[in-house]
């Protein structure tokens, strides 16, 4: 008996009970649709997170003050110390660090921003002139501040698009004066939108010379540098650049044991890896939940195959009488179960892919930050083979029961 014969028999058996076959198939169809769709959503989230992090710059390295153990061996925790200084930044910029393009200090300050009767909250970032280069910002209008602005503590700011929209609406912001924590600042430039929604929107920024921030905004906290941001020559040289920065800073801080360092480096790559592993876990959990419905569908197949085998006992008897071996009967019913689940799986993939494709067109989803589902070819292949395997797994017991029937008893069955 060849495969073609077996498939013809299976089709015959399935067509005999169209409604029953369709309903059983529906169980697998729904399961596979759920797997495809949920995994696509997980993938979509992963793609979205990656894109956001990539837009921050894949070659960016952050240096945070941390674990200042020199103060009596008490660890003060991540980002709590104030061990970084402007001289550290200068050292990274001037000493031999071939894989580092530039380093900038960052001083963060919160504060209410007002313009006319509009007010808005955005963090104010104090930094130096290399900021657009290091963080990869383009100017849409006006200009960035100069070294002279930094040296003279000029009260000038450059705004991100989100801030502009919230404060100015359609008014041209260049040359206008805004107030941050009741101090006046002149807007000299506007960044082009970088995109990215949700966490860490990069358009919700106000950038000012670091000296200005120290002088007018951070107040009593003094000349604190909350982090140093450096850019490597490319994403591929991030690791070397990290080593160079570590060496320079350890040397400057007089620390010989790297484990005792009073600063900590984190690259965009590290963040990306963390986010990716979270997204992968999310995808797995979603897939596993959907997988449960596949198992339920498989049990449905087993159930129906048991009924079919009992109903067709006489047919099995006839087939055995005219020379079908155990294997022939086994294969017949196994293929029937596999066609049922495989067809259900194929239809489920089609429905799942269609839903994933149409999801961004649904207004409620389009207007939210819900990730666009991404159907990966591997999940399609996997879903198909898993559904066929489910037919095989749940079909074995009923098919074996059919194959083991005694011909005489099967023929006598009414």
């Amino acid at each position: 008996m060849n495969l073609f014969e077996a498939l013809r028999m299976a089709a015959n058996g399935l067509l005999a009970n169209r409604l029953r076959s369709s309903l059983t198939m529906l169980g697998i169809l729904i399961g596979v649709t759920a797997v495809i769709l949920l995994v696509a959503v997980g993938n979509g989230a992963s793609v979205q997170i990656n894109a956001q992090i990539q837009s921050l710059g894949a070659n960016v390295i952050y240096v945070f003050p941390s674990n200042a153990k020199s103060t009596g061996g008490v660890s003060q925790g991540f980002g709590t110390g104030s061990t970084l200084t402007q001289s550290d930044v200068d050292a990274i910029n001037t000493q031999s660090a071939p894989d580092v393009v530039a380093a900038i200090p960052i001083a963060q300050s919160g504060g209410q921003i007002t313009y006319g009767n509009q007010n808005y909250f955005a963090p104010t970032t104090g930094t130096t002139t290399a900021f657009p280069q290091v963080r990869d910002y383009q100017l849409a209008e006006g200009s960035f501040f100069t070294d002279d602005d930094v040296n003279s503590r000029h009260r000038v700011v450059v705004l991100g698009q989100t801030v502009v929209q919230n404060l100015f609406g359609s008014t041209d912001p260049i040359g206008q004066t805004i107030k941050i924590s009741r101090q006046s600042f002149r807007v000299i430039g506007v960044f082009a939108a970088k995109g990215g929604t949700g966490f860490g929107s990069q358009d919700n920024v106000v950038v000012a010379p670091i000296t200005t921030v120290w002088a007018y905004l951070t107040g009593a906290r003094g000349k604190v540098i909350s982090q140093i941001v450096a850019s490597a020559t490319s994403a591929g040289t991030v690791t070397q650049a990290e080593t160079e920065i570590t060496t320079i800073l350890l040397d400057r801080h007089g620390i010989s044991d790297p484990t005792q360092a009073d600063f900590q480096l984190q690259s965009q790559q590290d963040i990306l890896n963390q986010a990716t592993s979270i997204a992968t876990a999310l995808t797995l959990v979603l897939g596993a939940i959907a997988g449960i419905s596949l198992v339920v569908g498989g049990i449905g197949i087993m159930n129906i195959m048991l009924v079919t085998v009992t109903e067709r006992t006489r047919e099995i008897g006839i087939r055995k009488a005219i020379g079908a071996r155990r294997r022939d009967i086994l294969v017949q019913f196994l293929i029937e179960a596999m066609v049922l689940s495989g067809l259900g799986g194929a239809l489920g993939i089609a429905v799942g892919a269609l839903l994933a494709r149409e999801a961004p067109n649904i207004p409620a989803i389009a207007s939210s930050s819900f990730p666009t589902p991404v159907v990966s070819p591997s999940s399609v292949l996997l879903a198909f083979f898993v559904s066929v395997a489910i037919g095989l797994f749940f079909g074995i017991y009923p098919a074996n029961r059919a194959a083991r029937m005694h011909p005489i008893e099967a023929l006598r069955y009414e």
Binding site: M1, N2, E5, N12, L15, A16, R314, E315, G317, I318, R319, K320, A321, I322, G323, A324, R325, R326, R327, D328, P407, I408, L411
Partner: protein
């Protein structure tokens, strides 16, 4: 063709052993047309199951076409059934929702790829078999679209398509009206007379047994009469 030596078969029903056959010696030669008769409970169904290789005897020796089949495994018996025996049942036993042609092809499907070469394709052999029983014009009909007599003729075509050593007919007219019965028995008699087909017919009806050329009567698991027709 068929040689049964001291065949016994005992069924176990709970703790009670029920002897169905108690030492059957029977020889059926090539080209014979034998009717096995007996009342219900005489053991004729058991005998037919053993002759048809659907069951194995408790003891004794059974040679079918030179092969000792008393001790074969299930799959080996299936192979023997496929190649050497053609079954015709009382209730026709065609596979539902399957055309007469496909039903007749079925034994060839299970025969696998090792059918002798030059015998033609399955479909053409099945068509020939259906033609031989006068059903060529209805071969694409499903069993439910055929009359009882036509279904039984399709079943005979299915039994013949593998060119078996014996044709085993178990009450082939039991579910038919008298006109169809006559038609079927004439067909069987003709197969025996014209093609020399060996036929073993199981029946409890004298009228039907008359078509055979030898009558064997069973009672309580033993042969009590074995005579050739005049």
């Amino acid at each position: 063709m068929i040689t049964l030596e001291r065949i016994t078969k005992t069924y176990r029903m709970g703790k009670v052993e029920v002897p169905a056959l108690q030492g059957i010696d029977l020889h059926v030669g090539e080209g014979e047309f034998v009717a096995i008769m007996g009342a219900s409970g005489s053991g004729k169904s058991t005998l037919m199951n053993i002759i048809g290789c659907l069951d194995v005897p408790t003891s004794g020796r059974y040679l079918l076409d030179g092969t000792d089949v008393a001790k074969l495994s299930d799959d080996q018996l299936a192979r023997i059934r496929n190649r050497k025996i053609g079954f015709v049942f009382q209730s026709f036993n065609l596979i539902p929702r399957t055309s007469a042609l496909h039903n007749v092809e079925m034994p060839l499907v299970y025969r696998g790829g090792d059918a002798p070469a030059g015998e033609g394709s399955r479909t053409s052999r099945a068509t020939v078999a259906l033609g031989a029983v006068g059903l060529a014009d209805r071969m694409h009909h499903q069993p439910t679209e055929l009359s009882g007599g036509q279904q039984q003729r399709a079943a005979i075509a299915r039994a013949l398509v593998t060119d078996p050593a014996i044709l085993l007919a178990d009450e082939p007219t039991g579910n038919l009206d008298s006109a169809s019965s006559l038609e079927i028995m004439r067909l069987l008699a003709a197969l025996n007379a014209e093609q020399g087909r060996t036929i073993v017919l199981i029946t409890h009806e004298q009228d039907i047994a008359r078509f055979a050329r030898r009558a064997v009567e069973l009672r309580d698991g033993r042969i009590v009469r074995d005579e050739k027709a005049a």
